[in-house]
Symmetry: C2
Subunit: 142 residues, 2 copies
Amino acid sequence: MPGEDRDGDALDAIHRAMILFSRGSRVRSNELYEGLGFVPYTMLSSIDLADCAHAADLAQEYGLDPSTVSRQLAELETAGLLVRGPDPRHSRRQRLELTEDGHRALAITRAAQRERLEERLRGWPRRDVVEFGRLLTRFVES
Amino acid sequence: MPGEDRDGDALDAIHRAMILFSRGSRVRSNELYEGLGFVPYTMLSSIDLADCAHAADLAQEYGLDPSTVSRQLAELETAGLLVRGPDPRHSRRQRLELTEDGHRALAITRAAQRERLEERLRGWPRRDVVEFGRLLTRFVES
DNA sequence: CGTTGACAGTTGTATGGTGCATCTCTAGCA
DNA sequence: TGCTAGAGATGCACCATACAACTGTCAACG
C-alpha cells in the first residue's frame, strides 16, 4: 500500500533513534545542569514529587540497587540539599526531605532543563509536541 | 480551547518521560544484550552501517572523547569482533572492519533488541508506531 | 630538502555511577 | 528472651568517561 511504511521500517527508525537517544543521555549526564548533575537531579526530583519518599522507593522507581541510592542520598545530604530523618510512621525507614537549598537547586535545574527542551522543540508544530509527549510517556510506562 | 493541552503540560510530560527514559537506558545498559553490552553494541552498529568508519567519526557521532572510543575499539579488537588496519586512502587514519564474529554478535544482539522493542510496542496502533518513529527520529536529530 | 603545524590515535590518571556481598541496627514476633 | 526480617550503610570492584600529555604521520611552505 503506497504511502505507508512497513512495520519493519518504523521499528528500525525507533530502534536507531533510541540508540542515539540513549547515547546522548549518557554523555549529557556528565555535563553539569547548572550545578546539579543528572543523577542528583533525578533523585531530588522524585523526592520532591513523592508525598513521603523513602530510599527503597527510589531504588524501585529507577531500578537501582539500594546501595547506589544510599550513596547518592549521602552525597546530597553532605551537599546540604536533603535531610534524612526518622519517619514517625515507619520507624525502620527514613524520611527524605529537601532543604531550602535543595528546593532552590532543583528549581534552577528544572528551569534550565525545560529551557533546553523548549529550544529543541522550537519550530515543531504544536500538534507534534503534544503527540510526542503522549507517545513518549506511553512508551516509558510500558 | 477544550481538548488541547497547554504547551507547558506537553513539555512537562516530555520532560518527565525523558528522565525516566534516560535513567532506564543507563540501568539497562549494564545488562548484557545476549553477550554484547550496550556500548560495544552501538560501536559495532555504527561501524557496520558506515561505509568506511574511522575512530574520529564515532567520537563525532556520539559526542565522545576520542580516547574513550580508542579504548572501546581496543576492547572490541581484543575480543576478536573487530580489526583495525591501515586505510589505503587516508594513511593517517585507521580502517575499522567487523570480523565474522563481529557480524555474528551484532546480528544476534540486534535481533534481541528488536524483539524487545516489538514486545514493548505490542498492542500499539500501527499509526502510533509510525508516528512515534517519525517524532523520535526528528527529536534525536535536533 | 627540512621545518612546522595540523591531525589521528593512544596512554596515564582521575572521577562518577553502579552492582554484589556483607555488615549493622531496629522492630516485631514466637 | 532471643530470632528473624527488613532498611539502610559500607567495602570492594568494575565500567564508561573526560582531560591532558604523548607519539607518529602526513602536508604545505619556506
